[in-house]
Amino acid sequence: VEFIILLAKLFVVFNVIMGLASLCTWVERKGSALIQDRIGANRAGAFFYVEDLPFKSKLLKFLLRPVFAVLRVLGILGIINTLLCDAVKALLKEDFVPEGMPVLLHALAPILAVAPVFIAFAVIPLAPDFVLGGYHIRAQIADIDAGILFVLAMGSIAVYGVVIAGYTGNNKFSLLGGLRAAAQMISYELAMGLTMVTMVLIYGTLSFYDIIEAQKQVWGVFLNPVAFVVLCIVGMAETKRCPFDLPEAESELVAGYFTEYSGMKFLLFWLGEFAEIALFSLVLVALFFGGWHIPFVDLPDGWLGALIGHAIFMGKVVFLSVVQIVIRWTLPRFRYDHLMNIGWKGLLPLSLLNLLVTAAVLLPA
């Protein structure tokens, strides 16, 4: 039974990741169109009419009518386009490998860009504990002692996907993109680690579950708003999205580190990026917005409470993800020296100072 519970957890968490990632994809495609006053993806499925079907049975056509109506709406909203057609197209495309480069490394890079992000989801609880059929269930795949550090570690492994991709591209654009990404991620990882340490000091634990439970009354964002702002900026830089998208800067580097990737491998980088957005939103909600807690509201016990808690959690996560996408489509890109200055001269001293002040405030207690 324990094994079945574990499988169910894996299933749920995987679906949460894929759901969030595909939602992000859709918001990115259609939302960006809204922001830029375009129409955006609306082709696939938009012209499904029962009258076009190649058979004559009136009854079948009548029965299929509502199905087609739903498909049409989905098509006009661009959901079929972004989630179904793009994936099929990518699967059918030619898989191109630059000449003279090791095929294995070339295939390894997108895997390394996606897998660590997925693994990091294993330590984040998605709902409060509940009891089902006599089993005490914690909605988290692996409950380890150093949850936050695990997420940081997985984030630092994800750098290798980008670096290897830049190397196997075998051209200057890829290489420059890979180098920029490596420098950027290492620079911002310092501030990220320090800020997380500050929050760990406040909560006194490294486990995500205890951190969320500690925010039952007051959310972390009210305890240390500076840390929240710093972590927001750093997180945007770590996901390599505009305004921090120098590694892929399409106006200078074609597509940066994944210039030489096509088909499904390219889509994996995409997926990794959106999974990273989702992961980052999850971490932010867990650290600063009390996870499944709303101040002064008590959740009912049992599986119903867990379900409601999960819905609250996911609502906050979706909100933060959409905010990130809106930021990406609103702000222009930084210049490279600005990027490094912000990281080393702005955020790093700020987070060090924040850590010092927090420790000083906490010391008497």
Binding site: D145, L149, A153, S156, I164, A182, L206
Partner: protein
């Protein structure tokens, strides 16, 4: 558990050899990453989650990325076998032999074979709760002076690196 331990150890040795054996510096660097990650996995098997995470963050996440960064930035070419390599190989093997024979007497037969595996499985049954807190407590009480000394040495190295990397202040050109 034992099987995983044996597999990891074999991989550890293989990647360690790979670091020096590959002609392409990038491949060598990637082997080094693998090596670090396997060491982290061994830590994790001993229930030292904190050490495992720190190993990944510091070594795999920062140090080796910088190695690869420099290798890629300088666009290092394939290493050609040279006469020097043979000299290095002989010296290296000699060093390894000396190290091995100085450690060997310390290992009795039991500790080498079955004993090591047993101690691994014993350690991995140790309680998980609060290993991070305990580590911190020991570090800041019993081992405070070595800890501070190590951080001082690192600080000195950091300042030295900054000092050396700055070019000597040029004399102002008159006129």
């Amino acid at each position: 558990m034992t099987v995983i331990f044996a597999l990891l150890s074999l991989l550890l040795l293989a990647t360690a050899v790979g670091v020096v054996a590959f002609r392409n510096p990038v491949h060598g660097g990637l082997c080094l990453v693998m090596n670090m990650l396997i060491v982290a996995a061994l830590f994790a098997m001993l229930n030292a989650h904190f050490l495992a995470a720190v190993q990944v963050i510091v070594y795999a996440g920062a140090v080796v990325v910088l190695f690869l960064f420099v290798v890629m930035l300088l666009n290092a070419k394939l290493e050609r076998p040279q006469f020097r390599d043979k000299v290095y190989a002989i010296v290296g093997l000699g060093t390894v032999a000396v190290l091995f024979f100085s450690i060997f007497p310390l290992m009795d037969g039991a500790a080498f074979g079955k004993g090591a595996v047993q101690s691994v499985s014993l350690l991995s049954q140790a309680p998980i709760e609060g290993t991070t807190a305990n580590l911190g407590r020991i570090l800041f009480t019993k081992y405070l002076y070595p800890f501070e000394a190590a951080s001082f040495v690192l600080m000195a190295a950091l300042v030295g690196a900054v000092l050396l990397s700055h070019a000597k202040p040029q004399k102002k050109i008159e006129g």
